[in-house]
Amino acid sequence: MRLAEIVEPPALAKPAPAIALSFRGAGVRLGGRWIWRDVDLDVEQGDFVAVVGPNGAGKSTLLKAILGLLPLSSGSVEILGHPATRGNRDVGYLPQRRSFDPDLRIRGVDLVRLGLDGSRWGVPLPGVGHRNTTARRRVDEVIELVGATAYARRPVGELSGGEQQRLLIAQALVSRPSILLLDEPLDSLDMGNQQSISALVQDICRTQRVAVLLVVHNVNPLITYLDRVIYVANGRTAIGSPAEVITSETLSRLYDSPVEVFRTKDGRLVVVGQPDVAHFHADS
């Protein structure tokens, strides 16, 4: 496996963990205002990172910058040491969405296969060529990995939200990316599915050594699975373990105003006094 080769150290000294993604003084300006600026952060390979913050704080913008879909106004974003560009095969992406049209008559396997060679020109030739066999095996393998084998040959439009989400994760994973960007994949799911998708993503991080950035509205359902959290608010970001970032001190510093974080008896975090985001964007 390609990734394993990169990651496996020559058994010498303790290896430094490879950096999958790094922001250096990065900023994005849209329509004359900074969405965020002076962002410095590193994500290591195999890290499971949640991107949290209030609505409109620029969480999706962060992903778009990594995808090379938005030009940076300052600084740099590097993926495995290379500047972020559009169409980078090292980055898998699952956009924010509702769900597929129930009338979409395409099978799950076809959807996953598009992640492998969908952007290549021409048409796939029917038949049993070597490339075709390899591709089919890879598609089956990744579908197995996300646990979607039972329904991968049914039309996607007929599947439930959780089932579609698993297939879309498979689609994003099939080209063996080093970084996986998931924009609110838990949003339309019930609690049970939120838990199982979170566990699946954590498993992918561990076994495939993929760095995952998962945008989420409410961090509580997946807090036990996470390695780190990126908090985006007020045009700035903070990164660290959930225990470091989601604290009264860090969030108050981020917001420039007093914010309190409480931990409930069952371990859930409650943020109180979080100011309205719109307020911050009105002046700049």
Binding site: L67, L69, R86, G87, V91, Y93, L94, P95, R97, D101, L104, R105, I106, R107, D110, L111, L114, G115, D117, G118, S119, R120, W121, G122, V123, P124, P126, R154, P155, Q171, A172
Partner: protein, 299 residues
Amino acid sequence: MPIADFGGQPTPSFDVWADIQQLLQFHFMQNAFIAGTIVAALAGLIGYFMVLRGQSFAGHTLSQVGFPGAAGAALVGVTPALGLLVFCVGSALGIAALSDGRGRERRAETAAIGSILAFTLAVGFLFASLYGGFVEGVYAFLFGTFSGISDSQVVMVAAVAAVAVAILICIGRPLFFASVDAEVAAARGVPVRALAVAFLVLLGLAVAETAQITGTLLVFALLVAPAATAQQLTARPGLGMMLSVVIALLVTWLGLAIAYFTVYPIGFFVTSLAFASYLGARAVRWATRASGRRAAALA
């Protein structure tokens, strides 16, 4: 009907081989079969993508645009096929320019298409009234004919279809990706917007050619019904495209044969057969779903 010129109403012998020989004995029927075959294959293929992309309304409008195209050509004095081609491709570009083409939200596109539809029909009406004494030709262009396809028309149909299929082969896979999931395709570096424009032009070409057989009002018979039928029957893309083409071919051949042996127009038969296949596919799917539910309930 022109069949009368060939010495009375032909009757089928119900000996398949003899009937096929009888069908193909006249040059005009040979031309009709060649052009019909090319057009059916093209419409089946492009139609698959049109139904997948949810752009049936765009296809509908482009087909109606054939009417002012043909009327304009008659007015200027060029071959109607050329008028069709110019108007269909021109309107395809117009739809592309007036809609955002991102494929996910079709609201802007639907409004743009509706406006273009109304305007082009009005222009066609103007052309027809300026030309005067046009009724016979308009009728053929609205509802189709198979007796008047010239050799040069067959060559033109073949050439346009060859170009369209060649383009489709080049852009097929990314177009499929962009049709199913525009956002992910764009992130993967697929030029979604350019492909949307390219596809509308292909659709314009397919409509312009199909209209010469089925008439501009009945283009849908070959463009929508076979593709929609195929997508009801299978969710496999490759098989779906093949089925769509096969259904379009069968419908066209059968329609031509029945029209030859009766006094009724071809457009009616092609459309009715296509509609019947669509209804049949819906019934099949409804039945399999119902039996699936019953099995699930029993299990």
